[in-house]
């Protein structure tokens, strides 16, 4: 009796989980399906779930413009790679040493400094973008890749510091002390002994920074306008501006845009809890 009740409950739980999983994943599957459908099937009523002809036309349209040559979307993807890549490198270069210093040294009001650093990351982007917009207009950074790189670096630095501080904390300071007893300077001890141990953590942190910059939309849409500079998120959003919307193309470009993120997120899955809480929660 008790055993069968437990079994029944377990089965119920599995059913519930399956239903929830289907609901959560359906939109993603629908996006992939739509990207593979011919236009008339995309707008079919009632919706076609399985019986449609597969086409890769939309994927071609993502990369090749209708007149041949490179499409605007593919330019925006390239811009995204550059902006996200460079800002991630900069945030890592600025953030990792700072994280090490915060971890190792007794500093004045260290806790306050760290809290201040994290709270800059929580500022509403629509609010920050107003003065940034005016600032950039003054110095000619509006509609430039450099402008985006700077602001993305600024919002990834707090994350990098918090995330990396956790990783540095895990490396015993005694390693450096021992190296210094052997006559190395502090800097040499950091470079030769601690830094190599931090490489996996740096890689994970950089991947998160890359994802944040890659997905960012608010700054991108307000600070850039021309096709040559635009990153992918505003470019994809721009696809729905006209009178008719090519949803197949929207779906295909969304898939192309999301795929690298999912791959990268899978690579850093062990650090996901720390990553999505901006390095604040570690388990």
């Amino acid at each position: 009796m008790a055993v069968s009740a437990r079994r029944g409950r377990s089965a119920l739980e599995i059913v519930l989980l399956t239903v929830l999983a289907v609901v959560m994943l359906f939109p993603v599957l629908w996006m992939i399906e739509t990207s593979l459908k011919e236009n008339r099937d995309v707008y079919a009523v009632p919706a076609k779930f399985l019986d449609f002809k597969i086409t890769l036309d939309h994927y071609r349209d993502v990369f090749v413009s209708s007149g041949g040559g490179r499409s605007t979307l593919s330019t925006s993807f390239l811009n995204s790679v550059i902006v996200a890549g460079v800002s991630t490198v900069l945030a890592t270069v600025l953030g990792v040493p700072a994280a090490w210093a915060y971890s190792r040294f007794a500093l004045k009001a260290k806790k306050d400094q760290l809290f201040f650093i994290l709270s800059t990351r929580f500022m509403p982007p629509v609010v920050v973008v107003i003065p940034i917009f005016l600032m950039y207009r003054q110095v000619g950074l509006i509609d430039s890749a450099l402008g985006l790189i700077l602001i993305y670096t600024a919002f990834n630095v707090p994350f990098t510091i918090w995330m990396m501080k956790g990783f540095v904390d895990e490396v015993p300071a005694e390693y450096e002390d021992a190296a210094m007893l052997d006559g190395y300077t502090r800097l040499q001890a950091f470079r030769k002994f601690t830094l190599p141990l931090l490489v996996p953590g740096i890689a994970a942190t950089a991947v998160f920074a890359l994802i944040f910059s890659w997905n960012e939309f608010v700054f991108a849409i307000f600070l850039t306008s021309s096709d040559d500079v635009r990153t992918a998120p505003p470019a994809i959003a721009g696809l729905i501006g006209g009178t008719t919307v090519d949803w197949g193309l929207v779906a295909a470009s969304s898939v192309v845009f999301a795929l690298p993120v999912l791959v990268f997120a899978y690579l850093v899955r062990k650090h996901l809890v720390a990553g999505v809480t901006l390095g604040a929660v570690r388990r």
Binding site: L17, F105, L118, L150, V157, D182, Y184, V218, V250, A258
Partner: protein
């Protein structure tokens, strides 16, 4: 052969710390603090980004106008409904999923990975895609409702349903976040506690209430606060999904700031709005950091 001992290591340490921290802090000062101070200054003026020319000081004029405006109260209410609704739903659903997963012995990793997908997508992709799925004519959601014999719903084009749609989409995207954090808490509950409880023949509900919940609660609270801050600052999803409409039914404070700043070009007023929003965020962040600190010390 190690190099010779350096001079006065304490001085070097301090210099090194400054050298390593200063560049990062300078960047934050230039890109976060300075802009906010500028916004603070602008909030006391009637500056307009398009009109140009010198700005006249209006002191607290912008602030009193905002705080006494019925329009703004309406937006604040919309924001509150959205934040409470979305974060509440996410918490319940996310915790439920985490609890169900934590009770499975096999396939945990795969299940977790699958559930996490929505969270990793850009809000742009999420917003666009739901807009397509919720379309009143050819959207798949109405198509599914139709096959169940239900009437189609104008998800994004009716005042009342638009806000619900926004909450649903946000819940879809961020339930995995709560799930992830809750799961981290649940798997950290030591097994022997449950074993001891089952020797005492404690009921399942009793175990849940006295062991699971108290141990997971602090972490869950962090996740909820984090989500509340994020939901409060949310802009992109509203922009893509509904653009604040129909009417002003989904116009959150974030979206309203955008309209005042970039469509009305009342930069001074928008800055005052912004400063008020920043104050709210600072309060929430302080709360968040305080709980985080407590969690770390335990």
């Amino acid at each position: 052969m190690p190099p010779a001992r350096g001079r006065s290591p304490r001085l070097t340490d301090r210099r090194l710390a400054v050298l390593f921290i200063a560049p990062a802090l300078l960047l934050l000062l230039a890109m976060s603090v300075f802009p906010l101070l500028w916004a603070l200054y602008l909030s006391f003026t009637d500056y307009s980004a398009t009109r140009g020319g010198p700005a006249a000081f209006v002191w607290f004029g912008n602030y009193t106008a905002i705080l006494t405006s019925a329009q703004v109260h309406q937006r604040a209410l919309t924001t509150l409904i959205y934040v409470v609704g979305a974060v509440g739903l996410q918490t319940v659903l996310g915790f439920t999923i985490a609890y169900l997963i934590s009770r499975r012995t096999r396939g945990r990793g795969l299940l977790t990975t699958l559930f996490l997908v929505p969270m990793m997508l850009s809000p742009v992709v999420v917003g666009l895609f739901w807009r397509f799925m919720l379309d009143a004519q050819f959207g798949v959601v109405n198509s599914l409702l139709g096959s169940l014999g239900l009437e189609p719903v104008e998800w994004l084009t009716r005042q009342r349903t638009a806000l619900i749609s926004l909450i649903v989409v946000d819940t879809w995207q961020w339930t995995p976040f709560i799930m992830l954090i809750a799961l981290a808490g649940l798997t950290a509950v030591p097994r022997y506690l449950y074993e001891a409880a089952s020797i005492d023949r404690a009921s399942e509900w009793f175990r849940f209430r006295t062991i699971t919940l108290p141990l997971v609660w602090p972490l869950l609270l962090i996740a909820v606060l984090f989500r509340a801050i994020e939901a409060f600052r949310l802009f992109d999803l509203v922009y893509i999904l509904t653009s604040g409409g129909p009417g002003v039914s989904t116009e959150t404070l974030s979206f309203h700031v955008y309209k005042v700043a970039f469509l009305g070009f009342n930069t001074g007023t928008a800055s005052a709005y912004g400063i008020l929003m920043v104050l709210v965020v600072i309060v929430l962040t302080q709360l968040y950091l305080r709980y985080l600190n407590k969690l770390k010390e335990d």
